[in-house]
Amino acid sequence: MPEGRRVEISVPALARVEGEGALALRIQNDRIEHLALSIFEPPRYFEKLLEGRDPQQLIDAVARICGICPAAYQMSASQAIEDAFGAEQDGWVRAMRRAFYCGEWIQSHALHIHLLAAPDFLGYESALAMAAEYPDALRRGLQLQGLGNELMRLFGARSVHPIGVAPGGFHRAPDPQAVSALLPRLEAALAEAEALLAWTAALPLPQQAQDFVSVALRHPEEYPLYSGRIVSSEGLDIAVSEYEMHFEEYQRPHSTALFSRLQGRDYLVGPLARLNLNQDRLPSPVAEALARTGIAFPSRNMFHSIVARAVEILLALHEAVRLLRDYHPPKVTAVSLTPRAGVGYGATEAPRGLLWHRYRFDEAGRVQEARIVPPTSQNQARIERDLRESLESFGLAHDDEALRLRAEMVIRNYDPCISCATHFLRLRTERR
C-alpha cells in the first residue's frame, strides 16, 4: 500500500457573497490529482428577494449583500437604475459618488492589508498577535481604515450599510464644516499611505510568476473606480452592457458559488488586475510613489496584490482630497428620476474587483429581475488555478501544515471577502 494522505482544507466562510468553504486537495505521486475550492454558501437568494422592490429599497437591500463593500453594491445598483431610467450622471453627484467610493477602498484595503494579509507574510497567527511586534504599522493601518470609514460616513452616516444614497444621488450633501474638518486629515494621511506603500513593497513576499488574464474597468481619464468600459489584458474592450456576451457563469458540484469564465478561461479581477491594466491612469504623485518601490507593473506575481492595494489606498486618498478640496454643497443632491420599464446595467470596481449588475424594471420602476456578479465568484476559478500552480512550485513534499499555510496565504491574497480570507479549520491530505 503506498503511503497516502489527503489534504482537505475547509474554509469557514467563503462564498459568492458569504459562506462556508473547503479546499479539497489530493496528492498522488507528488502530483496534485484533485484540487477543488468548494464554497458552501448558505444561499441568501438576493436576486429573488429584490424582485418587486423600488429603487430606494433596491439600494438599501443590495448593501446588505456584503458588509465590507456595501458602497460598491449601492454604486453599481445606482448606475443600473439610472441606466434603465435614462438619466446620465455628471457633475456633483458623480464626483461625490467617487469620493464616497474612495472611502470604501481605503477602509477595505487597509483592513485587508493589516488585519488579514500582513500576518501571513510576517508569520503571525493574526493581526492581534502581530500587535506586540508591529504596533506602529498596525496603528497606522487602523487609522487609515478609520479614516476611510469616516469618509463614508460623510455621505452615508455609517460605513456599513450606509443610508445616504438616494436613487439619482444622495439624500443629503455633506455638511461643509464636516468636509473641511476631514480634509486636512485626508491630506495628512497621504504621507502615511506612501509609507504604507513602501512598507508593503518591503514585505518578504513570495516570488512567483504566473500567467493570467486581468480584467478591469478602464476609463478615458481616470483610474477606474466608478465607471468605464470592461477591458482585459488579452485585448477585450466592451461596454458594460455586453458583459453577458463574453463572460459566462457556471456551477460546479463542489461549490454553491458560481464560477465565471471569459471565453472559456479563468481570469483575475481586483487590485492587481486594475493596476496592471490602468497604471497609466495613476495621478503622477501616486505613480511616482509606486516607481520608488522598484516593483514593475504590470506584474505577474499574484502576491503583488498587497502592493496594489497600498497603491490604491494612496490613490483613493489623492482622489478624495482632489474631489473635496473646493467643496460646495449643491442645491440639488439627487437628479429626479422618471421610472420607466426597461433594463439597466451597472458596473463599478469594488475593492475586490469588478462588480456587475443588471436589472429589469417594470413601468413603475420596480425590479422585475436581477442579476449580480460579484468579484469573488469571478476570481474563484482563478484561485483554484493559482493554488495548483503555487503549491506545485512551493513543493508538494512540504508537510501538511506548511501546505495548509501556503494554501491559505494564496487564497487570502485574493481577499475573496473578509471572512473568506481568514483561516481554514481542517486539513486532510491524502497521499498515494
Binding site: P42, L49, R64, R139
Partner: protein, 259 residues
C-alpha cells in the same frame, strides 16, 4: 469571548473590526478566543460571552448553533440576521426557498439549504439580543462594558422617534409626508436616516409596543398603495412578528384588491 458567523453579510462583525484603537483596548479587556475575521480560531472553546452573527439557514448551521450554546455562558445575538432572520428571511413568507433556488442555480440539487432562514432564538436560548442592521460599535462596546461589570446592559427598546427628537431632527414624516418607519422601529442607530433627511426603513427591527396598524393606516393616508405598505414592513425584519403581521395583512389586502 468568541464571535461566530452564520448566514450574514459580515457587517455586524465589522462593528468590532471598525473600532480602531478601541479594538486594541478591547483586546486588553477581554480574551478573544474565536473570531475568524480577526484571526483567532477556536470555535469549540468554552467562553463567557459568545456573539453570534447571522441567521440559521442550513442544517449544518442548526447543529453548529447548538454547539455554540453549549460552550457559551452568555450568548448574545448581533444584528438583524441573528435576531430576526434578517433580509434573507423574506423567503420564509411564502416558503419560496425551493422556487428561488431553482431560479438562481442551474443545479439546485447541489445546494444545501433549509426552507427558512430563522433567528437564533428559534434554535437555542439567547441571553441578549442586539438589534440593528448592522449593529454599531457603541452597542457592542456598551454590552461588553456592562457584562464586564457582571450585569446585562439596559435594554432600550424605545422608538427611533425619541432619539430623532433628542438629536434635534425635523420629522420627515410630518414635513414631507414620507413613510417613516421610525415610530415603530427599535432605537439604537442614533436616528441616522432622519438626520439625512430621509425616512427610516426599519433596519433596527420592531420597537417595544409598536402600533404598526396605525402607522400603516397613516401610510395609506399619505398615498401609499397596499403593496407598498406591505413592502415597508416586509423588508429587513420581515420575520419579526409585529412587522410580519402588519405586512402580510396589507399584502393580503392587495391580493384581495387584485382579485
Amino acid at each position: 469571548m468568541a464571535v461566530h458567523k452564520f448566514s450574514s453579510c459580515d457587517g455586524c462583525q465589522l462593528a468590532l473590526l471598525n473600532l480602531g484603537e478601541s479594538l486594541l483596548a478591547l483586546q486588553e479587556a477581554v480574551e478573544i478566543v474565536h473570531f475568524l475575521e480577526a484571526g483567532p480560531s477556536d470555535p469549540e472553546a468554552p467562553v463567557d460571552i459568545a456573539f453570534v452573527e447571522g441567521s440559521i439557514s442550513t442544517a449544518e448551521e442548526a447543529e453548529r448553533i447548538a454547539r455554540v450554546r453549549e460552550h457559551s455562558r452568555y450568548l448574545v445575538t448581533i444584528g438583524a440576521c441573528a435576531t430576526s432572520g434578517g433580509l434573507q428571511a423574506l423567503r420564509n413568507l411564502d416558503r419560496s426557498e425551493r422556487a428561488w433556488r431553482e431560479a438562481i442555480y442551474a443545479r439546485p440539487e447541489f445546494i444545501d439549504s433549509l426552507d427558512q432562514a430563522t433567528p437564533v432564538r428559534e434554535h437555542v436560548a439567547v441571553d441578549l439580543e442586539l438589534w440593528g442592521c448592522p449593529i454599531n460599535g457603541r452597542q457592542i462596546l456598551g454590552a461588553i462594558a456592562s457584562l464586564l461589570h457582571g450585569v446585562p446592559p439596559i435594554e432600550d427598546a424605545d422608538k427611533v422617534c425619541l432619539e430623532c427628537k433628542r438629536q434635534g431632527r425635523v420629522c420627515t414624516l410630518v414635513t414631507r409626508g414620507v413613510p417613516c418607519m421610525g415610530p415603530v422601529t427599535h432605537t439604537g442607530c442614533g436616528a441616522l436616516c432622519p438626520a439625512f433627511g430621509r425616512d427610516c426603513y426599519g433596519c433596527y427591527g420592531p420597537a417595544e409596543n409598536p402600533n404598526g396598524d396605525a402607522l400603516a393606516r397613516r401610510f395609506e393616508g399619505l398615498g401609499l398603495l397596499p403593496e407598498a405598505i406591505a413592502r415597508h414592513f416586509l423588508f429587513i425584519h420581515s420575520h419579526a412578528e409585529p412587522f410580519r403581521t402588519v405586512g402580510t395583512a396589507w399584502r393580503a389586502q392587495r391580493e384581495k384588491d387584485d382579485a
